[in-house]
Symmetry: C2
Subunit: 328 residues, 2 copies
């Protein structure tokens, strides 16, 4: 299959049907040297890029459907963490060989999530090489309404959506050759786009949990110049993790990556909004701690004792090729 | 070196000093989940993405400086072909190991071209994996002023900037282990950004020559629904190619990729502008043919005889890993 045919196949497999009244703003899509896009008047552009490499960011046995799904999800999660509305995506696909069936399944996975968020694939590039998928997600936000990592203040609540540690636990079971509970938490993370938009204007800081709770909270604290206490018995657990005792469970919840939940800080006067949002989105929102003046993160167990976690999260150049361990 | 340190090093190495009065529009750059960017009021966004893999898109012995330079250049070339003004870039860097010296040289190469065009690096991602550099270039254009592949009409002049075949010739000499003339044509293509902006509003169609003249002209003709004649003795040659006879030279000029010159069609009433633009930019602009009604490309030699070229350009999945042949 030639490059042009591959691009055409992806293009055909990823045409989005927009809902009535949705202004997608694509003036020129795939098929020219670049896409021409119209940002809604007065809005700012929000742009994020993330690359997934086979063996590093997903197990090498992951289906093409799930590879595409995850690649779009992690990028939409970055837009969600900014409170932005996703609009467009550009895709760079490096493949060892151009297999039409692989591309077909990949396109289906991409579309299954793109349609949920009205994301149009407007450009891209296919090349031969080791399998690597690089995606740029573009969205928009009203000026000054973006969520950043910078605004957390002492007294703010520390809140996280959904559950924590599920992806890391699924991965560990997979690597140990054991039955994998809730593998979808690893393969198909849910970008919290609607939550991000609701938080805009209320949350004082926001980030998505990609490297692990402690690591990502540390980013927020560093950018905001403060510290935090965490009440770790309040960390939301997946069904599988809930069956473990706390000492076994906490490391996954504190340091496991790839959950893509939103971690945000909220001035306590807005606390009552949490129940409203939670009901509206049918999504768990857990208050897990509080921002404090002193730098650093202090983890308290349910009995008030201080708990010292070990790892601080996933870093690509430290735990290299973690997905390869049992999948040569 | 950890991922975060690597990102910081690239960030520090690629800070652009903007000229006075230049509105770069970066509301939030590297260091959050996504960048927040302000498009000049009333302008449309132009977005392109291109990936370069070691061994496929550049010889494996290419310096980090030149890898970065070329990666930015080929993306800016896509914006140039749209008549857009480049503004921002997002970079995804996959590296087998995080080598600070490599990153330092890479940042320098990136900057050397980014500063020329006031391009700010606003986001990115570093991952471990086979060497692969994926870049998204973002720019802007006034509504309706973009150049596309679609508008060529019978009677329009076919024009190309600079010279053709130099990159392909340098590559072949390199692969044959011979002295390489003008290797900079392969490693440091010049994106014709200023030319693209001048053409906006005049050229009826435009593309950059990345796959080879015939292949890229075919894209324009297909999109525009017409054909062309080429007077191939008028194809502009590099100094090195000018020393060869025509029969040896033409294949490089017709089918060699990686030149990144602009190929455009111009209504003949604008012919006199070519001399003005050429003088203003100190850049050769050669009329090499004419758009015709009949589909297909007809190549005529200087004596009026029909010439049948062989290849039609570079396609990544056909000529796979061409750069590896002599560089194992």
């Amino acid at each position: 299959m030639k490059e042009f045919e591959l691009i055409r196949q992806i293009q055909q497999g990823t045409s989005v049907s927009y809902p009535p009244g949705f202004e997608h703003g694509v003036r020129l899509g795939i098929g020219d040297d670049a896409a021409v896009l119209e940002i809604p008047a007065g809005q700012h552009l929000v742009a994020a890029t993330d690359t997934l490499n086979a063996g590093t960011h997903f197990p090498v046995d992951t289906s093409p459907f799930d590879i595409a799904y995850k690649c779009l999800a992690v990028n939409l999660s970055d837009l969600a963490a900014m409170g932005a509305t996703p609009r467009w995506a550009l895709l760079s696909l490096s493949l060892p060989e151009a297999d039409p069936e692989w591309v077909h399944l990949f396109s289906e996975g991409f579309m299954s999530l793109a349609q949920v968020h009205n994301v149009a694939l407007v450009g891209g590039d296919t090349t031969s090489g080791a399998m690597s998928i690089s995606l740029t997600a573009l969205g928009s936000v009203a000026p000054g309404r973006q969520l950043t990592r910078r605004g957390a203040k002492p007294g703010d609540l520390v809140v996280v959506s959904g559950t924590l540690g599920g992806a890391a636990y699924a991965l560990e079971m997979l690597q140990a050759g054991k039955p994998v509970p809730q593998r979808h938490l690893l393969d198909r993370p849910v970008p919290r786009v609607e939550l991000g938009r609701l938080l805009s204007g209320y949350a004082s800081a926001c980030i998505d949990v990609s490297d692990g709770l402690l690591a990502d909270l540390a980013h927020v604290l560093k950018a905001s110049g403060c510290g935090a206490r965490l009440d770790i018995e309040k960390l939301p657990a997946t069904d599988a993790l809930a069956k473990l005792d706390e000492i076994s469970r906490w490391p996954y919840q504190l340091s496991g990556g790839d959950d893509y939940e939103l971690l945000f800080t909220l001035p306590s006067r807005h606390r009552s909004l949490l129940a409203t949002w939670s009901q509206q989105l049918e999504l768990n929102l857990s208050v897990i701690g509080e921002i404090e003046t002193d730098e650093g993160i202090r983890c308290f167990a349910g009995d008030g004792s201080l708990y010292s976690p070990e790892g601080t999260g996933f870093e690509h150049f430290r735990q290299k090729n973690i997905y390869d361990k049992n999948h040569e």
